[in-house]
Every structure is written in C-alpha cells, then in structure tokens.
C-alpha cells in the first residue's frame, strides 16, 4: 500500500510530519490536543484521500467544517428546486453534484426520470446558452456555491442582461463563507485552536475577511492550498503561530491567493447580488446575512420573484446528523446511519453526495486508510527536521 510515497515529495512530507510532531508535543503541555478546523470541503477530500489524519500525531486533530456547497443546502431548497423543475415548459439546469441531493420527494435525478426536463451543466453560461437555443422554454439555473462560484453566476447574469435574454432565471442559493465560521466560533459545542482557511474562496475574497477570527476570537487562521503538502505545511504554520504566541491570518497558498483577492470578481458580486437578511443552512439553522440574492437591477432574473414559489421548509430527516458533521461536532462515522442506510449510492444527507462532503470522502477513502494507519505509525518514526 502506497502512502507517504504517494506524495509529490515524500521527503518533504516526512520532514513536515516530524516538525508538526515536535511543535505539537514539545510545548511541555503534555496531553494537549490541538483541534484545527479545515473549512473547505476540498481540503476534507485531500485529507481523507491521503490519509493525512493518520500521519498527524494524536495531539493534532483535524475537524471538518461547513465549506462544502452541496452539503449546506437545506432540504426545503431542494424541494423548491423540484417544484421549479416540474413546471411545464421549463428546463431546469444544475451542476451534477446537486442532482443527487435528496429532497423530501426524491432528487432532481428522480424528477428527471419522472419526465421533468432537468439538465446537468458544467457552467452557468451553458445554462444561458440553453435558454438562447430554446426561446419557447423557460430555463432556470440552480445556483449554489460560495464566493468561488458566485462570481460566475454574476457574469452570467450580466451577460443575460446584455444579450436581452428574457427566458432565463436563477434560483439563487449562493452562500458566503464568513458567517458560518462565525456561527461555529460562537457555538458552545466545539473548542477549536485554529482554522485552515479555504483556498479557492480566498482567491476571490482575499485574506482580509478572516481578520475577525484572529482579532475578535483570537484564533489563528492559515489559508491553505489543496495539495497534501499544503495541508501539512498549513498545520505546521498554525502550530508555529501558537508556539510563538502569534495569532494572525497567514497565507500558505500565496501562489494562487492574492492578499486582496480578485477585485473584478468582488465588484461583479456587488453589481448583481445583495445580502439576504437570513438564510437556512442544512443542520446549522438560519444564519443572518449569510447568503446572496439578486438585487433590484437583476430582479427580472430572480426565479424566486418570477414564480410563485412555495418556499418550502422541511426539517432535515431525523436520522440525518449532517448538521453535527458540518459543525465538526461529530466525525462522519459517528452518524448512526453512516455506511448503512446512508451511502454515496443512497444518500440520506447531503454530506454523502458531493465528493467534497466529509461523509462521502470518509466513505470512499477513510476506511481504506484506517487499515494502513498502523503502517504509517511505523513510518512516522522518521528523522526529525530541525529548523
């Protein structure tokens, strides 16, 4: 079984693991466990894919966060999407991952099987093309995602307006990354020692929005890349901050993330969207100012205004513990239905659907790596790197 050897640079990985161990265990505070939350589902995927949790010493625990766009959509919004999809003369378009998310009456894929015109698209611009090619139909785009994806919806709306397309609308479910981080910091359930900040969201928003984490909550945060080595380096940076008594927003992923983010993208967001007063998140409940809606200039493209949508609210399924998983309160395998009633083929909750969801990532890779954890334990006895 390959393990550390799968890393691009196994020597660097070993050195980082050793350095992490030194910092975590070397503070004379024996027994302390450092809990770091990786906010982004992409990181969760990398962590399980590469068995990073088993490379780390027991004194460092990674906790999965809410940054998986598919995972946070509440059931009621899926039901609303189904309602739109089943309207006559409508073509409903969605990213592939969203098609399998279960609502209370099944998923969009099942609606498609029942005859609704539901189409998978790669880009919101594909959806706009479908609208132009089908002038006698109304085309809805199911917009989901954080600030990584919201600018692409914004560009699509600007283009729709420029081209004068009238048979196109957006069912907007874009969310923003800062409010859930704040909600988690305010929650009494969890004591965290720091954050791995999301990489691609930060290419848009930059590092500044995270300052409240250090300034108000006194927790360090390191914006991290997606390579396994990036994750290890970022964990090391967090520990170094703690050991040196610093508390800062640091950018490990400066190869891609500019300090100020992407001003074009930010300008487009404010041209098209405004903050919703509140929005429901799966398992996290209503979080104020945590999501985007189309502003007045783009109201004609807002599916929620254009159609008399039912605005369905349903409780999450009883068995589902996605909320606890998204807050990092429980690990995926601690959910009662994990791997039995809830699998990637028959998901009950959202976290099992997207490859970025903690449950799916753990289901696909985690158990595999558990078997090799012993081996890693042996391999971790490696030469210690001193700075």
């Amino acid at each position: 079984m390959k393990f550390v050897d799968e890393f691009r640079d196994p020597a660097a990985a070993r050195a980082l693991v050793a350095a992490i161990r030194d910092l975590a265990d070397g503070g004379g505070d024996g027994g302390q466990v450092f809990k770091f939350m990786e906010v982004c589902g992409g990181h969760t995927h990398t962590i399980y894919r590469h068995g990073i949790e088993h490379l780390l010493p027991p004194s460092v625990e990674l906790v999965h966060g809410p940054g998986c766009p598919v995972c946070v959509i509440p059931m009621g919004r899926v039901d609303d999407a189904m309602w739109l999809a089943e309207k006559p003369d409508t073509i409903f378009t969605s990213f592939g991952d969203m098609m399998r998310v279960p609502g209370s009456r099944g998923s969009l894929l099942e609606a498609k099987a029942r005859g609704a015109d539901v189409r998978f698209v790669y880009s919101p611009l594909d959806s706009l093309r479908i609208a132009i090619e089908n002038p006698d139909k109304h085309v809805v785009f199911f917009a989901v995602g954080f600030e990584t994806t919201a600018p692409s919806t914004a560009v699509t709306l600007v283009r729709a307006k420029d081209l004068g397309v009238t048979n196109f609308s957006v069912f907007c479910n874009h969310v923003t990354i800062v409010p859930p981080i704040k909600a988690i910091l305010d929650s009494p359930d969890l004591r965290l020692d720091g954050f791995l900040g999301p990489g691609h969201v930060s290419t848009v928003v930059g590092n500044r929005p995270y300052r409240f984490v250090t300034e108000v909550y006194r927790k360090p945060i390191v914006v991290a890349g997606f390579e396994p080595l990036d994750i290890l380096a970022s964990v090391h940076m967090l520990l170094a901050q703690i050991r040196e008594g610093r508390c800062e927003v640091e950018n490990q992923y400066s190869r891609v993330v500019p300090e100020e983010g992407n001003p074009q993208a930010i300008a487009l967001l404010s041209q098209v969207f405004e903050l919703r007063p509140h929005f429901e998140w799966r398992g996290l409940g209503f979080i104020s100012q945590s999501a985007l809606k189309l502003n007045d200039d783009y109201a004609e493209f807002d599916a929620e205004l254009r159609f008399d949508m039912p605005g369905i609210r349903v409780a999450d399924p009883k068995a589902c513990q996605c909320g606890e998983v998204l807050k990092g309160v429980i690990k995926p395998w601690e959910c009662k239905v994990f791997g039995t009633a809830c699998t990637p083929e028959t998901p009950i909750g959202t976290c099992m659907v997207s490859p970025e969801g903690a449950c799916a990532a753990y289901y696909n890779f985690g158990r595999l790596h558990r078997e090799t954890a012993m081996m890693v334990g042996q391999r971790s006895e490696l030469p210690v790197l001193t700075k």
Partner: protein
C-alpha cells in the same frame, strides 16, 4: 464542485465578450476570462478553470502541482474533465 483544474490558454477568441479557448488535458473549450479583466492573457498562459471561468492566473509550476493533485482525486478529476468536455458556452 469546487475543483479548479489548470487549463492552458490557446487563444483569446472574443476580446469584447472576454472569452478564450483553453486546453484542459487535451480537451479544448471556450471559457470566460471576465473575472481576470485587467490581467492580460497570452496563448500559453495557465489559468485555474472553475465552472467555465478562469479564476486565477497561475504559473507553469503551480499548474503542474495542481494537475498532479487533482489527478490523484481519481474519479472526481475524471468527472470534472468530462463535465468540461460537455461545455459549449455562449
């Protein structure tokens, strides 16, 4: 769906509409470069492609790193390339 995959600019096809043809793993498609306004793009440049948009300019080294990392994601990577393959934006 937050995967960003590296693509290499083949040509800017529509300067006014901010569209460019990029090559992702041998598949060439049109994407929007509207989010990189103000950053001149030349054939051969690398960008991080996400849902049909260039999200960030990256250098060759970063492109290699990211490509290696996303390829290790296995099925998710192939799904993403297949999705990219299906795109035909306006």
């Amino acid at each position: 769906m937050c995967l960003g995959i590296p693509g290499q600019v083949v040509e800017v096809t529509d300067e006014a509409g901010r569209l460019a043809k990029v090559d992702v793993n041998g598949v060439q498609r049109i994407i929007s470069i509207r989010l990189l306004d103000g950053q001149p793009l030349e054939p051969g440049d690398w960008v991080l492609v996400h849902v049909g948009f260039a999200m960030a300019r990256i250098d060759q080294h970063e492109a290699d790193l990211t490509l290696a990392a996303v390829k290790q994601m296995g099925q998710s990577y192939y799904d993403e390339v297949e999705a990219f393959n299906s795109t035909a934006i306006v």
